[in-house]
């Protein structure tokens, strides 16, 4: 009865259905139209709406700049950035233009655009095709960063992102594209800015986004077997963070572990950790823990890359440590 589709297909459906509903929505980017995207996510859109799907030159600043200008005219661009690492070549358009347009225009118009970006490591593509970019954007008021972890979220959050009037950087983790799950056929929104309690628990709070959620789930199972109850929070929107949900959870458990791909230093675990140290000090029963990648670029050789990426065992160690404290 419940329909099972892939994360990729869920994204495709979100865009397709939003384009059916709202003719202001269009897609653009490198190879998104005729080829349907480097990862096939926009397949079929150009065939159906040849005037609403645009292959561009390799010009990420032009793409995102165009999105800003078109947004102000009431359009709703959905751009694909192929690899999230390429955000560096259009960083200015996101940081100094999109993020500030509503502020500059005093609410009269805003960058109601979505930039879809394929994020994360593990595919053996080295330094420039493997990075987690969210920390580079989390000091920029005005931006929104959305990070689905399941096919259900992929669709509902992308729909919400397209409808949202702020600039949204929508992260799609490479390792999730083929993951399958239940996804309603009809259009639905999952609200932005709200973290999701994936699993309730009383002893430890694990915050984990995107592909890291599976580590949290596995760890919760493993700890449950030992009688330790883990609560899992999936932020869904990484920026601005849903501080309330995290605080509520840690107020209950007193123990926090953030599992995060990407270097440890100044990842989102930093903000969560500091926020709790500020606002929830009296509830903390143990040191906070961050399980992350090492503080290096991402190397190519599989053994090296795996060494750098977060290790599941470290989540278990962290759980044991916070319980033993």
């Amino acid at each position: 009865m419940a329909r099972i589709i892939s994360f990729s297909k869920a994204l495709n459906e979100a865009m397709t259905q939003e384009m059916e509903r709202d003719e202001n929505v269009f897609i653009l980017g490198e190879d998104v139209a005729k080829m349907g995207g480097d990862f096939g996510i926009t397949t079929g859109i150009w065939e159906r709406w040849p005037n609403r799907a645009f292959d561009t030159a390799l010009s990420e600043s032009a793409i995102t700049g165009l999105c800003c200008g078109a947004s102000v005219c009431g359009l709703r661009p959905v751009a694909e950035l192929m690899f999230a690492d390429f955000i560096t070549v259009c960083y200015d358009q996101l940081v100094n233009n999109a993020a500030k347009l509503n502020y500059m225009y005093q609410g009269e118009a805003s960058a109601q655009m979505v930039v879809r970006a394929v994020t994360g490591g593990g595919i053996r593509c080295a330094y420039h095709h493997s990075q987690c970019i969210e920390p580079w954007l989390m000091n920029i008021p005005g931006l929104v960063i959305v990070a689905p972890a399941t096919p259900y979220e992929a669709k509902g959050l992308l729909v919400a992102s397209i409808r949202n009037n702020n600039p949204v950087v929508f992260l799609e983790h490479k390792h999730l594209y083929n993951v399958k799950g239940e996804v309603p056929e009809e259009l639905y929104e999952i609200p932005l800015y709200e973290a999701h309690v994936e699993r309730e628990g009383t002893d430890i709070t694990i915050v984990a986004a995107m592909s890291m959620l599976k580590f949290a789930q596995k760890a919760a199972d493993e700890m449950a077997a030992k009688g330790i109850s883990v609560e899992i929070i999936n932020p869904r929107t990484i920026f601005p963070l849903d501080k309330e949900t995290i605080k509520e959870s840690v107020a209950k458990t007193g123990r926090l572990i953030v599992v995060q791909e990407g270097p440890k230093v100044m990842g989102y675990g930093a903000e969560i950790g500091a926020m709790l140290g500020e606002e929830l000090f009296e509830y903390l029963k143990a040191p906070i823990k961050r399980v992350t990648s090492l503080d290096t670029p991402v190397p190519f050789a599989p053994g090296m890359e795996d060494y750098v990426l977060p290790h599941y065992e470290d989540v278990i160690t962290a759980c044991n440590e916070v319980m033993a404290y």
Binding site: F26, N51, R52, T56, A57, S59, S61, A62, T64, G65, L66, C67, C68, G69, A70, S71, V72, C73, G74, L75, P77, D92, Q93, N96, N97, N102, Y103, M104, Y105, Q106, G107, E108, A109, S110, Q112, P141, G142, V144, N164, N165, N166, Y193, P240
Partner: protein, 328 residues
């Protein structure tokens, strides 16, 4: 193209308005009333007045950082004083004082404002031009840029894309010889910057940016071409800024006599001479224009000086469209 007497009178008055606007802004910038820094466009009135003259309210305008002139002339007459009070950082400013000299926009006349990062509006302008194609209307987008700004990579990405997609976009490149202290011949290899546009097979030309008749003629052609859906044009308008880069810059980098030579080519002087010599406009008529402009500008200044400052706590407004940000 020779303008009619009426037309030339109108744009002469427009130019004078810019001149006087800028002179007053300079006074209050120098005496510290206006905060921040100010880029004055004295000497470049023809390029700004001429371009705006050609455009409709429904055309998208991206002024540059030296764009007070284009901004004021784009505005509805009753809003012009609010352009000045914006520069004065006042609550009555057209953007509530939060933007200032570099960031004066008015979406009601499609003045899209500037972005302090040079070259940024050059790609943002793709979006408004794209919108015209997407919605199948004939709104044209004009983006102002300087000779220095042409150094930015965004200029390439923009012209490449607008030319490929034949977007209705006109690039007005005001070559005022300098980017801060650097002469354009030291920052670019080609003798005339417009040559650059030819590499994209985009109609590109260099004109006398101080001759308002030439500015209007060439801009009109480019705008018409854009409106017909034939794609972008690049117009290099040769001109000169009389002041330094910002109000207060002594501009020691300019060779002796250069400013004086350009003052001979003052766009206002040129227009006035034409009005008087060709159209027989009398001294009295010229004086009447001047008087009208004085009254107008005096009102802007008074308004700007007397307006209240914005509420500090409004600084937290409009960060997001749908979320509040914590204040103090």
């Amino acid at each position: 193209m020779a303008l009619s007497k009426e037309h030339l009178l109108k744009v002469y008055e427009d130019m004078l308005l810019i001149r006087r606007f800028e002179e007053e802004v300079e006074v209050y910038a120098k005496n510290g009333t206006i905060p921040g820094f100010i880029h004055l466009s004295i000497g470049q009135e023809a390029a700004q007045a001429g371009v705006v003259d050609v455009l409709k309210d429904t055309d998208y305008k991206f002024p540059d950082h030296r764009g007070h002139g284009a901004i004021v002339l784009s505005s509805k007459p009753e809003e012009r004083k609010r352009c000045m009070s914006e520069i004065f950082a006042k609550a009555t400013g057209i953007n509530g004082g939060r933007g200032g000299s570099m960031h004066v926009h008015d979406l009601s006349v499609r003045n899209m404002g500037f972005n302090g990062i040079q070259g940024s509006t050059v790609v943002t302008a793709l979006g408004t031009a794209f919108n015209s194609v997407y919605r199948k209307n004939d709104d044209v987008t004009v983006v102002f840029m300087g000779d220095g700004t042409l150094g930015e990579g965004t200029c390439h990405e923009s012209l490449n894309m607008s030319a490929t997609w034949k977007l209705p976009l006109v690039y007005v490149l005001i070559n005022n010889q300098y980017a801060i202290s650097t002469h354009y011949t030291e920052a670019h290899p080609q003798k005339q910057l417009s040559t650059w546009g030819l590499g994209y097979e985009v109609p590109s030309m260099t004109i006398d940016g101080n001759d308002i008749e030439e500015v209007i003629e060439v801009t009109q052609q480019a705008v018409d071409r854009a409106r017909r859906g034939e794609g972008p044009t690049l117009i290099e308008m040769m001109s000169y800024r009389w002041q330094g880069h910002f109000s207060g810059d002594p501009a020691a980098y300019r060779p002796d006599g250069e400013l004086e030579a350009w003052k001979e080519k003052d766009p206002l002087k040129l227009a006035k001479e034409k009005l008087q010599e060709k159209h027989g406009v009398s001294d009295a008529e010229i004086q009447a224009i001047s008087d009208r402009v004085e009254v107008e500008i005096a009102e802007y200044v008074k308004f700007s000086l007397e307006s209240p400052v914005p509420k500090p706590e409004d600084a937290v407004k409009y960060v997001y469209t749908d979320r509040e940000v914590e204040g103090r």
